[in-house]
């Protein structure tokens, strides 16, 4: 059994009077693709932002690699690549220049730029300005940035959002390659069940700030008895909660 790489215990978060996360607990074992599944506004992005220390924790515990992010921010972020919501890319610069900016911050070797461009299949577009990139290319470049320090953990918030079917397929294959060939633990949030179902080895269903299911895909399939497919099960879980 793998040791947990991320552990969230009794985490709650409020924006003013609104409860965004309500006492959630999640465990992400090392070496898995962990799907964080839920409709828009479920609390996925807030959870991932709390994981990265972008939001100050109000209650509960958040541990990455067994350490509290609020006390060990720098060493933990060195081991974590991320993509939160829209890709953070400087559109007036080329792909290589964007990577150079982040390479300087991560202080990794220059050869990593070529390596990550190769991994996300953007070698030929390295000298092209990012504003001329398609959304799929931008998402892949954002993942290349996340891969620069060769981190064991990737946190990707809706990486398939807005992509066309081909872009979604490319993204799915890229995530599977990162997991299989580069031994990354990947946490990927999505509101698209078919996407998560095809790549995740473990998943959590989150809705209105509560975790409604956490387990492996086979465990979810066990619950599936009596449902035509996973999508109807997913809807059933959500509707029951409402």
């Amino acid at each position: 059994m793998y040791a947990p790489i991320v552990s969230i215990q009794q985490l709650s978060h409020h924006f003013g009077a609104q409860t965004v996360l309500d006492n959630i607990s999640l465990t992400v074992p090392a070496g898995c693709i962990y799907g964080l599944l839920g409709p828009n506004g479920a609390g996925k992005t807030t959870t991932l932002r709390l994981l990265l220390g972008l939001i100050r924790r109000q209650s509960g515990h958040v541990h990455l690699f067994g350490q509290d992010i609020s006390h060990n921010r720098l060493p933990l972020l060195r081991q974590t690549g991320s993509l939160i919501e829209h890709p953070s890319l400087y559109l007036h610069l080329t792909a290589r220049e964007n990577l150079e900016i982040y390479r300087l911050a991560y202080q990794c070797e220059k050869k990593r730029i070529g390596e990550v461009l190769d991994t996300v299949q953007l070698v030929d577009a390295g000298k092209k300005k990012v504003k001329r990139f398609s959304l799929g290319m931008r998402q892949r470049l954002a993942i290349a940035i996340a891969l620069l320090p060769d981190p064991p953990l990737l946190i990707l918030d809706e990486p398939s959002n807005g992509l066309d079917p081909i872009g979604m397929l490319e993204m799915r294959n890229l995530l599977l390659k990162l997991h299989a060939h580069h031994a990354k633990t990947v946490i990927v949030s999505s509101h698209l069940l078919p996407e998560v179902e095809k790549i995740a080895t473990r998943l959590a269903i989150i809705h209105q700030g509560k975790v409604l299911f956490e387990g492996s895909l086979p465990e979810l399939h066990e619950l599936n008895q009596g449902h035509a497919d996973l999508e109807s099960l997913f809807m059933d879980i959500i509707v029951k909660h409402i």
């Binding site: 939001i55 100050r56 829209h86 953070s88 610069l93 911050a105």
Partner: protein
């Protein structure tokens, strides 16, 4: 200053490549010298006699007076806005804060880039003053710039103290620009405070208003302003330190970053 900070400052500088910031700096620095060159060439009957004894010093004051009053504070307002907007426009802040960088490193490396551009503006302003003087003298021999030595000491002293005077504005505008994603807020606040300072220049409490320090420091060597230099420099440096500290504290304690 450690190596990490220098690497990150280099990264921040790289973000300004192919933006309008370099052009803004060059054009703003060239603006007053170019206008004054045209004025000299159009009115040699007036300025020929005025620029006979110490042509460089008079021309230097002609150029720096309006720069210190309006152009320099306005440039600082626009510069801070342009640099902060690189992050806002590209959804960059959240990724910046998700990097293994200290909050002080993030705040001060970007601020150092602003200071570098301000320094560049000051140097270019003086270069354009000299270029304009030589061009005016070349096109109209009544102007004797080429036969007089360039007063390097005067240039450094004048632009140095005006540069010190704008430091308070620099810190205030940097804070506002990284605080608000809507660029109108720091822009309107900065322009509003600059205009208010110019309107209220005769107010007895204006000495506490950082937006007028650069023009006051321009005049600080005038006979009727004797003794104002040190208080103005002191207040400018205090304003700079206070607002830089407020800006950093606000960023450091912000509950949601990016």
């Amino acid at each position: 200053m450690n190596l990490t900070f220098l690497y990150n400052t280099k990264a921040e500088l790289l973000k300004t490549r192919r933006t309008s910031i370099a052009w803004l700096t060059v054009l703003a620095a060239a603006f007053m010298p170019a206008i004054n060159c045209v004025i000299l060439l159009n009115r040699p009957d007036i300025f020929g006699s005025k620029l006979t004894v110490v042509p460089w010093t008079v021309f230097l004051h002609m150029c720096w007076k309006n720069t210190a009053a309006i152009l320099l504070p306005l440039y600082v307002i626009l510069l801070n806005n342009a640099i902060a907007q690189i992050e806002f426009r590209n959804h960059g802040w959240k990724q910046v804060y998700a990097l293994p960088r200290r909050y002080a490193d993030i705040f001060f490396s970007k601020f150092l880039v602003v200071v570098v551009f301000l320094f560049l503006f000051m140097i270019l302003s003086n270069v354009f003053v000299l270029a304009s003087g030589y061009i005016a003298g070349w096109l109209n021999p009544v102007y004797l710039f080429s036969t007089h030595a360039v007063p390097v000491g005067n240039i450094l002293w004048l632009s140095g103290r005006i540069g010190l005077g704008v430091l308070g504005v620099l810190a205030i505008q940097y804070w506002l620009s990284i605080r608000f994603s809507n660029y109108i807020i720091p822009l309107a606040t900065g322009i509003g405070l600059l205009v208010a300072g110019l309107v209220l220049m005769d107010w007895d409490k204006i000495i506490y208003f950082p937006y007028v320090y650069s023009i006051f420091l321009f005049f600080s060597d005038a006979p009727d302003r004797a003794g104002t230099l040190m208080p103005l420099v002191t207040y400018a440096v205090i304003a700079f330190m206070i607002f830089l500290a407020i800006g950093f504290a606000e960023v450091y304690h912000r509950r949601e970053k990016g």
